[in-house]
Symmetry: C2
Subunit: 240 residues, 2 copies
């Protein structure tokens, strides 16, 4: 059987792909999809991604936790932003969270228009996600959220990690798969060190989120796979 | 002084960049920009890139050579396509050529709208081009033509080769620079072997253009730098 993996390097290229028979994995490693994975793994009932900070206001009296981040900082008046440390069991177990982020939410909303299914990937659930993708009878598109529609290293590295695990079970790979996998193989011995090459390195340092970055690069501390159901990200029910 | 290099991985992302103070290098290694470099180096008076095969028809009685390629093949009735072997001294010296190609021409036309200056790059003129870019007081955007607006390996490898030569003289690099340079460093020992990883590999084999591919990967056999002047690519007048 012919099975295809593609890597879409930024949401601005998504329109070039036919994803009607593909599972789309949305990737925004620093930090939205890491926090979503961690939150769902810690028992959050649902996470509702919204595109604009203003959209969160519709949920003010809902009893939901409100999370908003713009340009890497928590928006004033909100419960939290997208630091994974805000998504611990104590804080999110049984709760619903409304989340807006700079790049991740946008990618999610674009993907759900046309994809067969949309799930969330991060280093935190790398192996669980990859094994599940292998077990499905679908093509896979790895959608990097990037930075303001431009290519970024961290999301591409994660896409490469998935390609590397899926390689034996698929037989069509596009050029961005090849590039992403080779970058991951080059970087895997020390992902953090590799990311110091990034043009975002300076920006990340200014935001004082080094602990977050370190956490988001932890591999396989979660088994949950967040899946989009309607407008909500919930825990995918699969055989672990 | 602050000098910036950026790599735009496909023309579909060009709108994200401010190129008003940048020299844009258009890259379509297989085979348009290699053939253009070789043709200009072999004394072609000018090469006129046009977007559509039909646009060539305006030049039928001009005495110009007409070159048209779609999906890698010469269009019926035209003098030649974009095999570099059609651009030898015997064939092109003193001549003007009207050229349309699948990806390269499109990238050229998009770049010239906003760029400070537009030049042509290929492995054939790698060092000459890079030395000239260093000598200019401008930012550089390396524009990969890609394949139908998607990322491809060969154009990115060349972009990485340029980044590698320019690195010491520039101080701002975006994430796609980092990725392109690392891919080039990984591939440089045998560029042809690396390209067998490409999803285009099968397509290239079908087109029976292995000799062209080998030729387009030759490094530094030309000193000419084609530059866009109005609608024409001509030889840049610079101190060699």
């Amino acid at each position: 059987m012919s099975r295809k993996i593609e890597v879409c390097l930024t949401p601005a290229l998504l329109h070039l792909y036919d994803i009607s028979n593909s599972i789309v994995v949305v990737i925004d490693v620093l930090r939205a999809t890491s926090s979503i994975t961690y939150g769902i793994d810690n028992g959050a009932k649902a996470i509702i991604p919204v595109a604009q900070v203003e959209d969160c206001l519709n949920f003010v009296d809902s009893g939901y936790l409100l999370a908003a981040e713009r340009n890497g900082e928590v928006v004033e008046g909100y419960d939290f932003g997208n630091s994974p440390f805000s998504y611990t069991k104590e804080k999110v177990n049984g709760k619903t969270i409304v989340l807006t982020t700079t790049n991740g939410t946008k990618a999610l909303h674009m993907a759900r228009e046309n994809a067969y299914q949309v799930v969330i990937g991060s280093f935190l659930n790398l192996t669980a996600l990859s094994n599940w993708l292998i077990s499905q009878d679908k093509n896979v598109l790895l959608l990097c959220a990037g930075w303001k529609d431009k290519f970024n290293l961290e999301d591409t590295l994660f896409a490469g990690a998935v390609v590397n695990l899926l390689r034996k079970n698929f037989n069509h790979f596009d050029d961005s798969c090849v590039a992403a996998e080779d970058m991951f193989l080059l970087a895997q011995a020390d992902l953090r060190a590799y990311l110091y090459k990034s043009s975002h390195s300076h920006r990340l340092a200014q935001l004082n989120i080094e602990d977050d970055v370190q956490f988001c690069l932890k591999i396989d501390i979660c088994e949950a796979i967040p899946v989009l159901e309607g407008e909500r990200l919930v825990s995918l029910n699969y055989k672990k």
